[in-house]
């Protein structure tokens, strides 16, 4: 059997689910599994991508997925290399990561999988980032202490926050701002973050969307959590907005969301110290900064056209706020190889990377948000990852029956002559720079991560919380300690 030596660029859930599937479908003791190697490279020192640096702290149960990732990592055909940035990126937001050109990596592997996700926040045309206008991602990076070192938001000097966008990231940020530090202390929220939250003077969060409740991207669970907030209440929504159009055929999720909205929050409006509002059919058209430092946002009122696009009705209203947070989704890094500017992610067909001429690049794949765009919950990432693993197996062992998902891999498209990966490889080789990085303690292996993980949990337990996170410098010092 020809070896299958796969480099995975990116170490989030999609990467680990592909790895896990390949390792279990190609068991060690079978000929097809004997020459399998999977090496995951992540630009961050810690693995698991958005599970560590994205999932809201008050959703600890979501993090149970890492047990399966640990199982995959326990296979001796698997290795993890943290702190390695492979290929170009548009901004070097991880200063301490080792930078490795793609060809320095690819010469060691027969296969490459891009599981690089969508790392760039989509901005709003009229709301450029400033000290008063931030992306939700920078807030998430702050409360998860992501290695990009986002500045803390000035929560102690503001009372009104406006979120632009009505997806789950938006509701996560709203929930974090409205929950209060005491509700979050038990979770994986770093002390430096809790310190800022304890001083928060935020009293109201407006959540603005240019379309209506049936188009909102948030899911029922996240909306219900908002409705159940202990110290906050939802301001009444214009009942006309909550009337379904007469000919509308609502999905189960849409109907249940509508019911929740009609019922409103558990706390009666204005009965609580904090409040929130859902401002449907409003689209920021301009803003100005007032002498007080507040922002005045001019909101265009919108309605839906036949294609459910938001179009301006010509009316406007003004909203004064202290901080604008844009939560408008994410896209892949345009500096990456195989990025398609029209799609805003990598160009793929059934998980295979497609070059600009429409041909598949042999043995090069993409999965997760890098391939699909930034949408879908973990379950869709899992199913996509399994399907990509099946495609890799079907391409590598033609004619063999191996696919176990009900998603049959499609026939391979025309394959390009270009070759990014190597034909002949040494099974255990890794790039010299990575080898050196491991020796220097700059590149982190999975066992080292598990040591940090255990220490973080231990430090958390001492404070009665889920975990106390380390930053890179702390982790590096911890790992360099004499054992």
């Amino acid at each position: 059997m020809p070896p299958l030596k796969l480099a995975v660029v990116g170490g989030g859930p999609s990467a680990f689910y592909v790895a896990s599937r390949l390792l279990s479908l190609l068991p060690h003791h079978q000929p097809r599994g004997a020459d399998l190697k999977i090496h995951i490279y992540d630009r961050l020192w810690a693995p698991h991508g958005l599970v560590r640096y994205g999932v809201a702290p008050d959703h600890p149960e979501v993090k149970n997925v890492t047990h399966k990732f640990d199982q995959a990592a326990a296979d001796d055909r698997f290795r993890f290399f943290g702190n390695v940035q492979v290929g170009p990126q548009s901004s070097h937001i991880i200063p301490h990561a080792l930078s490795l050109p793609l060809d320095a990596l690819s010469q060691h592997y027969t296969h490459i999988l891009f599981a690089t996700g969508c790392t760039i926040p989509t901005l709003h045309d009229v709301l450029p980032p400033s000290d008063r206008i931030q992306s939700a991602l920078s807030l998430v990076h702050w409360y998860t202490q992501h290695p990009s070192h986002s500045n803390p938001p000035p929560l102690d000097t503001i009372s009104h926050v406006t979120l632009i966008g009505q997806g789950n990231v938006s509701l996560d940020v709203a929930r974090m701002l409205l929950s209060g530090s005491s509700a979050l202390e038990q979770y994986d929220v770093p002390e430096v973050v809790l310190d800022v939250m304890r001083r928060s003077s935020v009293r109201h969060v407006s959540i603005v969307g240019r379309r209506g409740p049936h188009q909102a991207a948030f899911t029922t669970k996240e909306l219900r959590e908002m409705m159940n907030l202990k110290d906050a209440s939802l301001l009444p929504i214009d009942p006309a907005v909550l009337e379904p159009p007469p000919d509308a055929k609502l999905s189960r999720q849409q109907s249940r969301i509508l019911q929740l909205l009609q019922k409103g929050s558990v706390n009666a409006p204005r009965s609580t110290p904090k409040s929130w509002s859902l401002d449907f059919f409003r689209s920021p058209a301009a803003f100005s900064q007032l002498p007080s430092g507040k922002l005045r946002i001019s909101l265009a009122h919108t309605a839906l056209d036949l294609h459910e696009r938001a179009i301006s009705t010509g009316e406007t209203s003004a909203l004064e706020t202290d901080l604008v947070v844009t939560a408008l989704g994410h896209h892949a890094d345009p500096a990456q190889a195989f990025y398609d500017p029209a799609l805003r992610h990598l160009r793929t067909l059934s998980g295979r990377i497609i070059n600009p001429l429409g041909r598949a690049v042999k043995n090069v794949y993409a999965s997760g948000w890098a391939a699909m765009g930034a949408r879908g919950v973990l379950a869709s990432t899992l199913l996509d990852a399994y399907a990509v693993a099946d495609t890799i197996i079907a391409d590598h062992f033609p004619g063999a029956t191996g696919a176990t998902t009900s998603i049959a891999p499609t026939a391979p498209p025309a394959v390009s002559e270009e070759r990014l990966t190597a034909e002949n490889v040494v099974l255990n080789s890794i790039p010299a720079a990575v080898e050196q990085g491991l020796e220097d303690g700059r590149v982190v292996g999975y066992e080292q991560w598990k040591a940090v993980d255990a220490e973080e949990v231990k430090r958390g337990a001492e404070k009665g919380k889920e975990r106390e996170r380390m930053g890179w410098e702390e982790a590096r010092t911890f790992l360099a300690r004499p054992v």
């Binding site: 997925v65 199982q71 669970k221 219900r224 999720q253 398609d340 869709s380 996509d384 998902t405």
Partner: protein
């Protein structure tokens, strides 16, 4: 069987704390405490009944073909039973009702015998692929004697879920 599974199996044997079969359901609306209550649904998390004495379940694939007929005990949940018998049913959040990966479709006559799903389960079912009128999360269905002979079908997943290169417009 793959090696990693064996490794965890061994771990589960030597660490009883990893063998918790299920978290207690949190009361409605209360946050679910799942911080360190590691729920690993692997072999050994439930015990198999003496053959011929248990509650029979017919696991079926997405096409309706029988994968396995298994027996289990009263109180066992479908996700744990599936893992005990190597049925390919995911349980990404390990029974904490934070995902929909253990979605199963039950035979209608048995579905009606099970207490209705709570809000949190329904919220997750909202996002399940291939949802039907008799869909449940496997982790939330505990067996009773009346469910003997129940069909448990895995939902179908299709490539259509992942539209390569197309993005719905949001304008």
């Amino acid at each position: 069987m793959s090696r990693p599974r064996l490794a965890v199996h061994a771990l589960a044997r030597c660490r009883p704390s990893l063998r918790v079969a299920g978290l207690p359901r949190a009361p409605h609306g209360a946050p679910r405490r799942a911080l360190h209550a590691t729920v690993v649904r692997q072999h050994g998390s439930i015990t198999r009944p003496e053959p011929g004495t248990g509650i029979k379940l017919n696991f079926r694939d997405a096409k309706g073909d029988v994968l396995k007929v298994v027996e289990a005990n009263e109180g066992d949940d479908i996700l744990s039973i599936a893992h005990e018998h190597d049925i390919d049913l995911e349980g990404a959040c390990e029974g904490s009702v934070a995902c929909s990966t253990c979605h199963v479709i039950l035979s209608p006559q048995h579905y009606d015998l099970i207490p209705e799903p709570e809000d949190d389960e329904n919220d997750m079912l909202d996002m399940a692929f291939g949802l039907t009128d008799t869909s449940r999360l496997g982790c939330q269905v505990k067996l009773t004697r009346t469910l003997d002979g129940m069909d448990v079908q895995l939902p179908s997943a299709t490539r259509n879920m992942f539209v390569d290169g197309k993005k719905p417009t949001h304008h």
